[in-house]
């Protein structure tokens, strides 16, 4: 019976393949370095942020989740996204007196901010109807207002949280329709006044924000957030560790 000519080379190829695989595995193992402390810290930070989110999702309060990485601002309740706003610009500001900056409050990214206050406040005029007991003299129900009419939103506003952080929300462009009281004065005097007011707010303790997180939103989004943000909405700023 003729001997199979391909026998020995096939076996040799198999052995060579196995050896090569072993060598590659050994090389890969040798090259695998232990994780750097920075990588461990970044991972720990991610876990910490997840834990914060889980804590908020377990509660009954509404909360805002500001993700610095994905540039999104989400209105959440129990882990469910109710509304997602895309952030166009994101900055943080600290008070500065005579060119001297102050440091942001320690651990500001490691906490959940609560007890918010809208500045300027969202006013709601409730109409009150007093029943007369007589169908012929009952007042006609008023013409219902649109949300834009009921809650006119300023182009720029702040959500100030207890503890010193303020979310400074800015519209990308000034809204087309605004009552005069909410219009931004773009004249030189108006700008100067705004400048002085800004400086004043730094100098007066009650008005000072220890840290401002400024977000620029689409004009409709900024207005929508102002109108519809539920009272008591908390805030968590997701600042991820560098390199994570």
């Amino acid at each position: 019976m003729p001997r199979d000519a391909s026998g020995p080379p096939r076996r040799a190829r198999c052995i060579a393949g196995v050896l090569l695989a072993l060598a590659l595995a050994a090389l890969a193992h040798a090259q695998k370095e232990p994780p750097a402390p920075a990588a461990l810290a970044a991972q720990a930070r991610e876990n910490q942020l997840l834990q914060f989110q889980l804590d908020l999702a377990s509660g009954k309060d509404f909360y805002l989740l500001l993700d610095a990485r994905s540039r999104s601002l989400r209105v959440m309740l129990q882990g469910v996204t109710l509304r997602d706003y895309q952030i166009r610009e994101l900055e943080m500001g600290v008070p500065r007196v005579l060119f001297r900056r102050t440091e942001p409050p320690a651990g500001w990214f490691d906490r959940i901010w609560s007890d918010p206050q809208l500045v300027p406040p969202r006013a709601r005029d409730r109409l009150e109807i007093v029943a007369t007991g007589d169908s012929t003299t009952m007042p006609e129900p008023p013409v219902p207002l649109t949300p834009e009419e009921a809650f006119p939103a300023p182009p720029n506003y702040r959500i100030r949280y207890a503890g010193g952080l303020a979310l400074d929300v800015r519209s990308e462009t000034p809204p087309a329709m605004l009552p005069d009281s909410l219009k931004e004065d773009t004249s030189l005097v108006g700008r100067l006044r705004a400048w002085v007011m800004e400086a004043r707010s730094v100098l007066i303790e009650d008005e000072r924000d220890l840290l401002r997180v400024r977000v620029v939103l689409r004009t409709e989004d900024a207005a929508a957030l102002y109108r519809s943000m539920p009272p008591g909405t908390k805030l968590l700023v997701l600042v991820h560790a560098a390199g994570s």
Binding site: V94, L98, T132, S135
Partner: protein, 275 residues
């Protein structure tokens, strides 16, 4: 009449001038200090004194102006340096919340990753598995969502926010707000009949019926009603032209076609989130 007699003394010739003292016998050259001519001495002070008051005032004015300019400049510089200094968040690196551990970094990383998976799973479990409803009561919008995907966006009507008082003297008071928070569909009804509550009669200025059968109204709630507690419902409406406006007594009114989708997609227990 007495004749005028001139006074002789006044007419007498003036006495001769006194003779200067005789020069000393041994004359030395006199020590003389150069004295400017009398004319110069008299005129120079006059020229200097005349414009002095004006120049002094001008000088003061310039000084005050300079101080003012300096003060304004300093204030402007101070103002420019006072306010809020902004920078990107990208440079903000939080300190590592890593606890010292005796295990190797590889093991530590494996533990952290395991913990991360657990947290992610727990967080994902918070999102309702099927369809859920999100209602923006301010903008009168209702959304059906599956996960993060929006499967329906519809116009609705939410609470008007009106306050109704039973009488001027007091009595009961109702606030027609839609509640905010998390709810569940607890009852589904086809062709629902509305059992009018007291406020519906008070609002119309009608007496509150004593008999329950006088409270029933047919067709007001549309084809379907999905209750989510405390008398609040998602239901249809006869007044579709008012959709998009806050006109209800707290319920969510939805147009006929959209309500059919909501009815089909939302079984009992469906989560409703209203903000």
């Amino acid at each position: 009449m007495a004749a005028w007699v001139p006074d002789r003394r006044s007419l007498s010739p003036a006495p001769p001038p006194a003779q200067p003292p005789a020069p000393p016998r041994n004359p030395l050259p006199p020590i003389t200090t150069p004295v400017p001519p009398a004319r110069t001495l008299r005129r120079i002070p006059l020229r200097r004194e005349e414009p002095r008051p004006r120049r002094r005032v001008l000088g003061w004015l310039i000084a005050i102006l300079a101080v003012l300019i300096l003060a304004v400049g300093l204030a402007a510089v101070a103002l420019a340096g006072t306010g809020y200094a902004y920078r990107g968040l990208a440079g903000t690196t939080p300190p590592a919340p890593l606890k010292p551990s005796s295990v190797t970094p590889e093991k530590q990383m494996a533990q952290l990753r395991g913990e991360q998976k657990k947290l992610q799973t727990a967080l994902a479990k918070r999102i309702p598995p099927g369809t859920y409803v999100v209602i923006d009561q301010t903008h009168n919008r209702v959304y059906l969502k599956k996960g993060e995907e929006i499967t329906l966006e519809a116009v609705c009507s939410a609470g008007s926010g009106l306050v109704l008082r039973e009488s001027a003297a007091g009595g009961r008071k109702w606030v027609f707000d839609t509640p905010r928070g998390s709810f569940k569909v607890i009852q589904r009804r086809e062709n629902p009949v509305w059992k009018k509550p007291d406020w519906a009669f008070v609002e119309e200025g009608k007496p509150i019926p004593k008999n329950d059968s006088d409270r029933f109204e047919y067709g007001m709630l549309g084809e379907y009603a999905l209750s989510f507690g405390d008398g609040y419902m998602m239901h249809g409406t006869l007044y579709e032209r008012l959709l998009g406006r806050s006109v209800t007594h707290g319920c969510i009114r939805i147009g006929r076609d959209d309500l059919r989708v909501v009815w089909r997609e939302c079984p009992l227990g469906t989560r409703i989130f209203i903000y």
